[in-house]
């Protein structure tokens, strides 16, 4: 049986300092609070087609606060 990888994003709010790169690069996946700090939208599940944007946000966070989690489902 083939495995399907499902992605989730998550912001580590202890690490986030509000550089707001995730929101600039992937507004479909991230939002900012009233202080300008990032958080994942909803449950963080990455809709099909947005995988590259999730990794792009991760590759541009100076604080390494963006996590991309691969959930393997049988």
């Amino acid at each position: 049986m083939s495995k399907q990888t499902k992605l989730r994003v998550r912001i580590d709010r202890e690490r986030c300092q509000g550089h707001a790169r995730c929101y600039a690069l992937a507004p479909e996946l991230f939002e900012l609070d009233e202080m300008g700090n990032g958080r994942e939208r909803g449950d963080g599940v990455v809709a099909p087609g947005l995988e590259d944007k999730a990794y792009l946000a991760q590759a541009n966070c100076p604080e390494l606060a963006v996590e991309v989690i691969e959930d393997e489902k049988p």
């Binding site: 550089h19 707001a20 792009l56 541009n60 100076p62």
Partner: protein, 395 residues
Amino acid sequence: MTGRPPVRDWATDFDHRDPRWIEDPYPIWDELRQSCPIARTERFAGAYFPSRYADVKAIAYDTEHFSSRRIIVRETRPPLIPAPPITSDPPAHRPAKQVLLPAFTPEAIAQHEPRTREICRALVDRFADKPGCDAAVDYAQEIPVRVIAHMLGVPEQEGDLYRKWIHDILEVGITDIAVALRASDEMIAYFAAHIAERRARPREDLIDYLINVRIEGRTLSDEHVNGTLRLLLIAGIDTTWSAIGSCLWHLAGHADDRRRLAAEPGLMSSAVEEFLRAYAPVTMAREVVKETEIGGCTFVPGHMVLLSFPAANRDPSAFADADRVMLDRKENRHAAFGLGIHRCVGSNLARMEIRVALEEWLKRIPEFRLDPQAPVTWSQGTVRGPRRLPVVFGV
């Protein structure tokens, strides 16, 4: 530089005011990264210079051993002049920063984009029909000063006064502390008058906002408001002016990048990040307050650390082809706005100003190059950027 002995050895006697450092610091940092990698100097009453990304980051994160109460490396240790939150350490830092953050989110900053665009257009109008201009003096330096004055609610025309204070505090004041203190006193008096005026007649601007905002239920003292206003004026002007100038300097000298950016507006966002990485203008500082060891170097209390985000951004162990400017760089965790709790409050403002400044320039002047007859000059000290940038228009 008169009266300053030339640097004998960059690893043990560095001086960021040396003409070679001011002109082109990148080869010096490369050499230090390979040999040292944390340089020291007995100048400036003792200071360190970490050249690697990892060490810069470790120090930026370590607020226990490294204090922000002094953020400029000077010849002496003058009395502390607080400008919260940049000069604040935990636990005072967090509330002092949180009062500012809502005014600097991307959405809040977007409200100032139309005025910024008007300012840029009016400036370009003045010289677009001429054979050339000084892109630093006639354009870059005029933009942030007007934008921050507009946000604070102080006169946009008083740019010369603001720039003089900044020059006195950040450049001349490194060696002549009396000049820095005098400029600081003048700024305190200037903003005290504005604060008093707002108390008498409230207005809708940042000064008014700071007078009325509350931390844990209490309004800020006049001293706190004054310090924060001085910070916003100083931090908001020559930093972004330098960044805009460096972008135009790069584009003037690189026809391929210039044409690509003019042809592909969608590249602007990653190009701005790449310019910020490669030509990060701001070097901060910390004062060692507790002995510690980082990167194999013992940091002794009382000494300063020149915290060079620009050097971190050129570290090849953190960035592939670190010395190459790639407008479409995909992975870019640059530290131009700092790392850790002191991330620049104005980063969203700076990004907007740089983007709009480049867009408006390229729309009217897609072709330009460095004037072969007139030299480019660079600032010295804490903020790096071109101060004279003569360019000629056309191919």
